[in-house]
């Protein structure tokens, strides 16, 4: 399957080159081989450190990641020689290839050192703390190290490269929530008072959870990163629901969310803008910060139609940010509805396999973490693809594995490594404790002549 994914990706790359440059160079072969080698290493790492892991997940990731690289390269070609904001456009694909390599190393390391996901549960509070700090950091640091880009203050820059600590915080906080909920699970369902038919846990049990959630969400809002806060919120809700098996939490959560959304809409200008762009992108087409981007995305998708313009034959470079948040509309334009749906199905297969592992795994923490990770992935896809296709208001967020961006890639590879670890535990043979040698029943014991001591 990995070979199949590689072949697909290389074929896509060839198409892009052929369409954009009208010639094929040996470079393609090197790219293809490099890509194949990277994933061969990843594959071997999985075989070695998680031999029973789900065999479908890694090829799915490889396919998405490869397709993302091809698309980024394709947009590089289109933007070659253009000047953006006074700077000559620099190719993004080589950087992304580098990030992929780094991400795969990280992936292998996680697989090797987290040999049992249950150990993570022990570091739940640590993870939560680190995650929170990571989340807060860009918000409070001065802007020379944490500049505001596109209205969101979520980056940390160190010289040439920048990271989004929020991406990692997402996973860390998920570990924390999972660990926390598992340890307090019984309390959640048993203790506490009844309120409107809902078993409320005791405040001191609920406290850390609510605090973490509130701090997380408010920080997200302060940093103006709506997409991530939506994602974060959804994950917490699902973890809570799975842990408590109480649908009421979902209701409460949705009510809270609706309230929060209305408040945010009332308070924040940029939220109002997003909403009006969503309602009618053409009406705000020419306004600054208006519907231009979404409209272009829709035009691209519409022009692509059912079968798309063909790789390298569309004009996805007309959409601003086509290589990050809007990469799925670039795919929709060039591969059409068919390609976009195929891509969505790959995401679905991927997250469903993750979820299955979560269901199959035997420990609660694994179930919760696996379910959370799978849901996070799927929900993130929903938020970004829904945004670019005008199903929901656009909230800046990356498409996992597809978009350009190192942090997102690194974090998502950690996510996959954890999922594989959980699935390895789920599918692996039960580690049966060695049966104790049984004592035959006393009655069956044969009598022995005990010699009288002399």
């Amino acid at each position: 399957m990995l070979g199949f994914a590689s072949a697909l990706v290389t074929a896509a790359l060839i198409l892009v080159e052929a369409n954009q440059e009208q010639e094929l160079t040996m470079q393609i072969v090197y790219y293809g081989l490099a890509y194949m080698a990277l994933f061969a290493v990843a594959h071997l790492a999985v075989r070695k450190w998680a031999p029973y892991a789900d065999p479908v997940i890694l090829p799915c990731v490889a396919l998405l990641n490869g397709l993302g690289l091809v698309m980024i390269h394709r947009i590089d070609l289109a933007n070659e020689g253009e000047v953006f904001a006074g700077e000559l456009y620099s190719a993004k694909a080589p950087k992304q290839v580098l990030w992929t390599a780094v991400a795969l190393i990280l992936f292998c390391l996680v697989l090797k050192f987290v040999s049992d996901h249950r150990t993570l549960a022990k570091y739940g509070y640590t993870a939560g703390l680190v995650g929170l700090v990571a989340l807060i950091l860009p918000g409070i640091l001065p802007s020379f190290i944490a500049p505001e880009i596109n209205g969101a203050k979520i980056w940390l820059t160190f010289g040439a490269f920048s990271i989004q600590p929020g991406e990692f915080a997402k996973i860390l906080l998920m570990v924390f929530f999972a660990a926390f909920l598992v340890s307090k699970r019984d309390l959640f369902t048993a203790a506490g008072r009844q309120f409107l038919g809902l078993d409320l846990p005791r405040a001191r049990d609920l406290g850390p959870l609510v605090a973490a959630w509130a701090v997380g969400v408010s920080i997200m809002v302060l940093q103006k990163d709506l997409g991530s806060s939506l994602l974060f919120f959804g994950i917490v809700l699902v973890l809570l629901y799975v842990a408590t098996e109480r649908a009421a939490w979902v209701v409460v959560g949705l009510v809270l969310f609706s309230g929060g959304a209305v408040v945010a809409w009332k308070l924040f200008n940029h939220v109002q803008q997003r909403v009006s762009n969503w309602l009618d992108p053409l009406a705000t087409y020419d306004l600054p910060g208006g519907g231009f981007q979404i409209a272009q995305s829709l035009f691209g998708l519409g022009t692509g139609g059912i079968f798309g313009a063909g790789l390298g034959a569309g004009r996805p470079d007309l959409i601003p940010e086509a290589n990050t948040d809007f990469i799925t509309s670039a795919i929709g334009e060039e591969l059409g509805f068919v390609g976009l749906s195929a891509m969505l199905l790959v995401y679905m297969v991927f997250s469903m396999r993750g979820l299955r592992s979560a269901i199959a795994v035997r420990d609660s923490f694994g179930k919760l973490l696996g379910g959370g990770l799978s849901f996070a992935l799927c929900f993130q896809v929903f938020i970004v693809v829904g945004g670019v296709t005008k199903l929901i208001p656009m909230t800046g967020i990356t498409a996992p594995f597809l978009s350009y961006g190192g942090s997102s890639l690194l974090a998502n590879y950690v996510l996959v490594a954890l999922l594989l670890r959980i699935s390895d535990a789920a599918r692996g043979p039960k580690v049966v404790p060695k049966p104790k040698p049984q004592q035959p029943a006393i009655a069956d014991q044969y009598t022995v002549m005990v010699e009288r001591p002399k």
Partner: protein, 491 residues
């Protein structure tokens, strides 16, 4: 914990399904709206221009319009092999000024978005080939087209030549002069395009972009006499029916004189047979004949020949050629010699000649022979379409004989040896003061008379190089004969 996990799984699937549903809405249902949105022009145009547009080729495979790869963002430039000669056939394809002619009408096919190419587009997506446009094979014969264009331009004529295959209606040649060079309009240099466009569309200029063959109508003059004769023959008269030979008559209820050419008697007697009257192109005889037949019969016959058809496309829209309405008896007389209430396109006159040549069966004219997919398979081929039985085969035979006589009586250069041409000339007056304006010179013909394979109509506006003294025979006939000669010589 597994039940909620399963439910979460269902929620995840629902999310993906929602996305796919919405993608369906955006990319399938609303796709056309988005594609055609004004804000999206840039993308559509860039896409279209950078697609390899289909070729336009002549009936023998000679490329007329092609593409050349460029290294700018449009990627392909339209190139016309012999631009001015074929401009009325191809039209133009400009990035700034849109397109015209076949380029415009068959744009969906040429740019590859036509539904008939759907299956191929699908396979293009799968195999990743660049979508290409389909090619058009026209019915145009390069020898005919080139000869007609050269004949007209070397003499500096303004006018048009149309040649048809009478048996099928296939257009063998369609020339309009003066012409323009579509290569200049297809230039990727915006200034060059603009300069050419200004030049070609200049107010008061000689309208090179006007396709006179199908867009301009002229009084047919004496060429119309074949239609009057056809109506008379269908009405029971014969070629020997005697008509007046008077050198001049007075139009009914007026003092206006209607004379024969040079006010000569029609032959030697006091009456002349219809055959002789047509051969000598006697105006008085046909004016009276028209008066006798009446508007109704003439209109009926005219319509059978394809007059008053507002819907004809070849695929260029053909301006309606009109007969009538006839306001009074005087006009009816004048209509008998193709003046006043008669106006026709050169194409229509070629159709009339072709109908007679084809034993009275009018074939629908067409210009596109085949649609050829990028993989060279034939998507569609035009089948000859019988439009109407305009006249009986007997009438057609009689008319052919009469037109053979007419050709012998016609002067002008360029007579062909070894080929019998059946023809009729026309010298049509026009303008407010007809005596002061050089007449339009017409020539309609088909050959070989025994088994016609080509029918032509030639019009030279405003007397060509002969001024007031121009006649169809002197000015237009040589062009028509040269075209027939070129076509028959090449077979």
């Amino acid at each position: 914990m597994n039940t909620p996990l399963r439910r979460v799984g269902i929620a995840m699937m629902v999310m993906i399904l929602l996305l796919m549903g919405n993608a369906t809405y955006v990319q399938v249902i609303k796709a056309d709206d988005y594609r055609k949105d004004d804000h999206n022009r840039q993308r559509v145009l860039l896409n279209e221009y950078s697609r390899e547009r289909g070729q336009i080729i002549a009936s023998d495979g000679t490329p007329i319009a092609n593409v050349k790869a460029t290294d700018d963002s449009y990627r392909y430039q339209r190139v016309y092999a012999n631009g001015p000669a074929y401009a009325p056939v191809t039209g133009y394809y400009s990035l700034t000024y849109g397109s015209g002619g076949v380029e415009r009408i068959e744009d969906d096919l040429l740019n590859g978005s036509d539904d008939r190419l759907f299956a191929r587009r699908l396979s293009d997506v799968i195999t990743g080939r660049d979508p290409k446009g389909a090619s058009l094979q026209l019915t145009v014969d390069p020898k005919v087209q080139q000869t007609a264009y050269d004949e007209m331009t070397t003499r500096g004529f303004t006018g048009s030549v149309v040649a048809l295959n009478p048996q099928t209606g296939a257009i063998l040649g369609m020339v309009s002069t003066p012409s323009y060079d579509p290569n200049r309009l297809a230039s990727h240099d915006g200034d060059e395009q603009e300069k050419a466009w200004q030049e070609y569309t200049a107010e008061g200029g000689d309208q090179p972009t006007l396709n006179r063959a199908v867009q301009a109508t002229y009084p047919p003059g004496s060429t119309w006499k074949v239609v009057v004769a056809a109506a008379a023959l269908e009405d029971g008269k014969t070629k020997d029916t005697q008509l007046t030979a008077a050198p001049t008559i007075t139009l009914p209820n007026t003092n206006t004189q209607l004379p024969n050419f040079n006010e000569t008697n029609c032959g030697s007697g006091s009456t002349a047979s219809m055959e002789e009257a047509l051969a000598r192109s006697c105006n008085t005889a046909f004016a009276e004949l028209a008066g006798e037949l009446g508007e109704q019969k003439l209109t009926k016959q005219a319509n059978k020949f394809g007059m008053n058809d507002k819907e004809l496309t070849v695929p260029q829209t053909v301006a309606a050629s009109t007969y009538g309405p006839v306001p009074d008896k005087a006009a009816l007389f004048q209509s008998g010699i193709g003046q006043r209430v008669v106006d026709m396109t050169p194409l229509e006159n070629a159709v009339i000649a072709g109908t007679i040549a084809n034993g009275g069966v009018r074939m629908k004219p067409y210009l596109v022979q085949k649609l050829i997919a990028p993989d060279l398979s034939v998507i569609d081929e035009t089948k000859p379409d019988e439009a109407e039985d305009a006249i009986s085969p007997q009438t057609a035979n009689t008319l052919r004989d009469m037109m053979l006589k007419s050709e012998t009586n016609t002067g002008g250069e360029g007579r062909l040896t070894g080929v019998n041409i059946a023809s009729k000339t026309g010298t049509a007056e026009h303008g407010v003061d007809p005596a002061a304006v050089p007449p339009h010179a017409w020539y309609i013909a088909f050959a070989p008379a025994e088994k016609p394979t080509i029918a032509v109509a030639v019009i030279v506006e405003n007397g060509g190089d002969r001024g007031l003294g121009a006649t169809g025979g002197k000015v237009a006939a040589p062009v028509g004969r040269a075209v027939i000669g070129a076509y028959l010589a090449g077979r």
